[in-house]
């Protein structure tokens, strides 16, 4: 028996490295973590680490280039004493509320339009995406010129069309106009995201449902209300979720257009955090500003994702 076994052992060659690797990779327990690892490393480096640092800073009296100490929630409490912060808090909700509401209504309208049989449909669908594709800082610079008090093409056009009285509104110098300007640019920038995503939802609605509704005598409004809208709810919830988060944390538009002015009337959390944390060096306070809405946004994400999941199952 022993000789026989030896013979077997000597004739069976050990598997090559390639074979062993292939066998290992065939096991789900090994392949899964291996495939996830790069994404995990990226997440840890690019999201978890900065988030952890921001959290630490927000709980400290950290000042640029100087040693810091843990101070608990003092930054978060003290921020309410700052009228710039209170103004920013209000601005963030006004800006996000107005922008997201307008983007939603206009986005549905644009998606319905793009879903029709149009001439040069592909070209138009591509063109609609342009504001979303162009780098924000660059396109907002264009808007800055259009709203600029000295060169405003918006005012020039309005005055020449008889719509505005000379010299026209001071878009970036008066608080309500300045807020209107940043909201307009945000809508212009974010509309393609709404339109294209909703369009994808529209395309997936079976034509038979519309035909059946039409056969039952439903007009365009009824078809939209009882067929389109209910079937778009899932898509709309996701779009609203993303847009609310992105709009709350907007930075580029306000930074390029108004820098938060006049008198802090357009500051958002991100722009105020930059001003306090980097320009005046109070990193701890700046981090607290940027994290202020984090708990609220987590709740919004949780509620909306739960709603989407409920609909899916």
């Amino acid at each position: 028996m022993a000789i026989g076994s030896l013979r077997v052992a000597s004739t069976a060659r050990p598997p090559s490295l390639r074979v062993r690797l292939r066998t290992a990779l065939d096991r789900e327990r090994a392949l899964g973590p291996l495939l996830v690892a790069p994404a995990l490393v990226l997440l840890v480096l690019m999201v978890a680490y900065p988030f952890g640092m921001a959290l630490y800073f927000s709980l400290s009296d950290s000042f640029i280039g100087r040693p810091s100490h843990f101070i608990g929630l003092r930054n978060f409490v003290n921020l309410w004493d700052s009228d710039a912060f209170r103004q920013t808090f209000q601005n963030a909700f006004v800006f996000t509320g107005l922008s997201v509401a307008c983007k939603l209504v206009l986005g549905i309208w644009l998606a319905l339009l793009l879903n029709e049989q149009l001439w040069l449909k592909r070209l138009i669908r591509g063109a609609v995406l342009l504001p979303w594709v162009i780098p924000t800082a660059l396109s907002v610079l264009g808007w800055w010129w259009m709203f600029n008090s000295l060169y405003s093409v918006v005012n020039w056009t309005g005055i020449h069309l008889g719509l505005l009285d000379p010299p026209g509104p001071n878009w970036l110098g008066q608080k309500y106009y300045a807020m209107a300007a940043v909201v307009i640019v945000n809508i212009w920038r974010g509309l393609p995201f709404f339109a294209i995503t909703i369009l994808a939802g529209l395309v997936s609605i079976p034509k038979e449902l519309y035909e059946a509704a039409e056969a039952d005598g439903a007009g365009p409004v009824a078809r939209f209300w009882y067929v389109t809208l209910p079937l778009l709810k899932g898509v709309l919830a996701i779009v609203l979720l993303f847009s609310t988060i992105i709009t709350f944390s907007d930075f580029n538009i306000v930074y390029v257009l108004t820098r938060g002015g006049p008198i802090n009337s357009t500051h958002l959390f991100a722009t105020l955090a930059r001003q306090v944390g980097l320009e005046t060096g109070r990193i701890g306070e700046g981090a607290a500003i940027s994290l202020y809405l984090f708990p609220v946004l987590v709740l919004v994400v949780f509620a909306q994702l739960r709603y989407v999941r409920k609909r899916a199952y």
């Binding site: 100087r66 001071n170 110098g173 002015g261 944390g277 005046t280 060096g281 990193i283």
Partner: protein, 424 residues
Amino acid sequence: MRPVNRRQFLATTATGLAGILAARTPPALGQTREISYLCWNNFAPLSDKKLAELGPRFTKETGIKIRIDHIAAPQQAAKYASEVQTQAGHDLVEMRMHVPWLYEPQLVDLSDIVADLEKKYGKVLGSGYEAAHVKGVWRAVPQYHTTFVAAYREDLFKKAGLKTPVTWEDLYTVGKELKKMGNPVGIPISQNFDTISTGSAVMWCFGAKEVDKDGKSVKINSAQTAEVVEWYRKMYRDCMEPEVLSWTDASNNESLQQGKAGWIHNPVSAYIVARDQKLVTADGINHHQSLSGPAGRHDTDAPRSIGIWKFSKNVEPAKEWIRYLLGKKEVYDEYIMSGGAFNQPIFTKLQDHPVFKTDPKLAILRGEGVNYHTYGWPAPASDRVQLITNSFILPNMLAKAVTGTSTKDAIGWAESEMKKVMAG
């Protein structure tokens, strides 16, 4: 030569690499003498062009490569903060006003270079000393300074028979006429440095101050500040347009150059750019002496200096650049001349520099009879004063007042914000 086998090659390179990583210093052969310099986008653009020309010449003479980057003035504070926080970035940085005070623990002692420059050019002017001489150590090397003057459309004044103002009150009288002519006064009231420069000058002339001489007591809440606020309120209402609330540092320059503003408070850059770009308004622009008030004639002086971060691995080559740019008389002269007197020499023996004689419209820069100060005066320079600047408290106080907040409330708000900064 003995052949090297694969095993020996791997062992040698691995040992070498481990050594380099442990020492965190590349071997002499691999060390490139390369430095990077971050400075602002100069309002006299030819000055930046000259800098780009001087860089390669420096490399040719010294063998040290230099990369010169520019950044817009409003972004400097955040950029420097992020470089300090990450302990990475440029080797040399150009700094405005009291920024060296703010970053004192992060800046290399450059007293040796300043001592050499002072031997050659005389003492650094007071503004440069205040800005860069931090607690007995030169944390940056003063390179030039920029004084504010009154820039106006002389042609329009002559046409309308207007006299150039002597006091800030005179400006109100003239300003009303200018606004009627469609050429309003252009004093920014927004979150930018020009607003602080003009606001500070008006405050000093009216006898108001932000912080007292002791550098600790906030003194913004005073009858003099109330007078300043009231003056701004009537200027905004009768002599200016609401656009000033959205202006950047460049806007008043552009407004004068493009033929809109009739009077601005600014360094000579507005005229220099108009002249160099041959704009139609250039001939009509001139300057007159800084304005005065009940407490005298005061104006803003903005010094700029060059510092080296302590985290730089190229401190010696970086010092070489400063010695080349500021220490070589012919290079410094060339650099100063390129700025067309926007960048004024900051050493006492150079105050009769040829740059002041290049254009009769620049003669005003001699500043006779004007008391120049840096931000925060009469408080001594400090990191707190720089923080008050960076927090834009003065501009926001003025903006609040001209847009409806009562004088008392606007000043009260500024006082509370300044006290917060002083308390740390």
